[in-house]
Symmetry: none
Subunit: 216 residues, 4 copies
DNA sequence: CATGAATGAGTGTTCATTCAT
DNA sequence: CATGAATGAACACTCATTCAT
């Protein structure tokens, strides 16, 4: 510990970009394992194999660091989804590919997902950040539904559309939580199940079936 | 230092049970506003109009206090739902009444909901506690679906049933989040919307329609 | 716990003197087990089967309570010794009886000994209290030695006498510690051993043998 | 609040080893003066001219800090004794030099002695730590006695030997306490006195004289 | 007489953050 | 560029002590 031989400094003087990625990797890992508050900058720095002042120099305060994690993971996720669900496909195909890409991402980045949702949801400072990202997802889903509806010659009020989309996104997140907790579970199968719930429900909507509260 | 006027001691020497409720009220409020970690026992005690040692004497450590909040709010919620959805009603009626009770509860106890889900989900020590409660909800929902299915002469594998129920619960929680964030929103309407998504999707399931991934 | 049936209050309204002895018993026990600081008034009160305010009403603050324990145990011990070593016996007989009474006392009141010495020695507020008691012991022992010396026609300077007496008392305390820690040990045997060390050394002194540092 | 003049920062950024010694010095002093419980980490830190977190970073919790003090002082003492009493000397010479070194040490490190014995004896968590150290002393003394006995062609049962050694160590500690309390006392003289008591008693033992309780 | 209810004051401990080297 | 050294500020938790009933 104390006697650190100064020769062969094991990967020093790396370019800034690389170092930043190492730090973010470490941060995502530690935030995911411990939660935002319980995570300590010491542990993150140590896990990144770097000293604390460097973390501050490169990525700022703890909150900023967390936001940086959020951004990176969120962007990666959105890219994975967007890359899979090209907009020139039929609606069900788009939805399926998007869902599959999403669950694949969650399955492969369980840490990232934990940071993204489980942590961010609970801590006020990041709720906004997260809301934005989720908002984009909701928009995409609502867009798909609207597109499909119009193709059928039907139309639904924007609020209803949004709420349905919101519910679908919520159901998806819920299954993502479930997936993140079950290491052995298969992302592909989970996607299929979600597709069943989502598409069947949405299909009804597309055909104009609705439910009304009984008038007592 | 602080000149405390000695007249009208504003509610001193209350019996234990009363004080405990006051404390829980304050705790739910503060936990909800600040989050578990950011909340301080000082603030909770002050908000309850009592000294810190009393909080410890009656309700234990911070974690135990949080769990107590969880229990009280969770129990209240479950009771509200169970009381509304009597088991001798037809499936759709039960679902509808349960959902309505749920959204009414969330609308009326936005603080409690925040404590229950937003906080508990993120903090490892309480994840288990929460998982149990959610598990009970999932079971109830799955039971409803199964009951309805059998009435139609159909049957679905237990895992599929559970996942569908899980997704529905997730969707519901998501809308509850949305409701908690939109003070002006109407619980009744939100319930109706959720019912649309849930029931229409479930109805499909009931009729045996399923979706399969395209085989490329 | 909460529902305490009010009939048969198990020994209430005892006369003050009895209650005080109960409290002291409890206090000695708890102080002995936990140490002065680690002991809590709550535990003492509970162990005495009485409420805290009563303890304060009867025996004062924690420090005063500890001093009360010290006094009672110290007095008991001194009485046991004094009663055994009547001053009209020959010196060795007196010493032997005194030692035997002492080790018997320690053996029978291990708790009291722990309070008396092990606790009191370490805590400044009581060091003086204790020094007085030990001083009396040293005086008694020095008196014995002086008496025996004069009987032999010899005399020793008062400081030397005191220091020798001090050393003997120290040796005795040390063996008392040892005895208190070894529940199975026999007080009688321990007394014999101490007598060997003490008397043989003292006997030399009585006969005028002395040791001088080598002059280099 | 406290106007701290910014010039001459009085010893900042010292290497770790130095700071640790400063802390231990301060800790020994404060523990000695106040006792373990009454001592506060704040006072120790302030006395060391450093902030509390540094104390925790370098030497751990309060208990660990106390143990560290115990170790340092104990080691110093043992080294002082061992260095003085070379094993190739005659028994009485060894004993004398050992005693002298011991009392010199106590006289010069009265704080250390208080920490070592007066505090440690009373607080359960450290009793074991201390027992070990005293045990080593007892062994050394018993070894000396045994050596001398065998040289005289005599032998004594191991328990008797140990108890005698125990008594001698106890007497010595007792005089050390006395010395620590009397600032003006001369360690050299105290050592001589102890030697008289010890050696004269031991000499008797060496020559086979024993005392037996009168059979009434 | 006896007690449950109540608290002020203090302590150990942690951690994000920043200099001086 | 990189880091060990350093700290301010806060927080959970405890306990001796005292009223009001």
């Amino acid at each position: 510990m104390l006697a650190r031989v100064s020769s062969t400094p094991t990967f020093k003087r790396l370019p800034r970009a690389v170092r930043e990625q190492q730090m973010l990797d470490a941060a995502v890992k530690v935030f995911s394992r411990r939660g935002f508050h319980a995570a300590s900058m010491d542990e993150i720095a140590e896990d990144a194999g770097i000293s604390k002042p460097m973390v501050y120099a490169y990525l700022g305060t703890k909150e900023e660091l967390f936001v940086a994690c959020l951004h990176r993971e969120g962007t990666r996720m959105m890219e994975a989804i967007a890359g899979a669900a090209a907009s020139d496909l039929p609606a069900d195909e788009r939805l399926w590919r998007g869902l599959r890409a999403f669950f694949r991402f969650v399955g492969a980045h369980r840490d990232g997902w934990a940071v993204l949702y489980r942590q961010a949801r609970g801590e006020q400072p990041f709720a906004g950040e997260l809301a934005t990202m989720r908002g984009r997802l909701v928009e995409v889903v609502a867009g798909m539904l609207d597109h499909a509806l119009r193709a059928e010659g039907r139309e639904v009020g924007p609020t209803d559309l949004e709420v349905v989309a919101y519910a679908l996104v919520g159901a998806t997140e819920s299954l993502a939580d479930w997936l993140a907790d079950h290491t052995e579970a298969d992302p592909e199968k989970t996607a299929t199940r979600m597709m069943n719930v989502a598409w069947l429900g949405a299909a009804q909507l597309l055909h104009g079936t609705t439910w009304h509260p009984p008038t007592p």
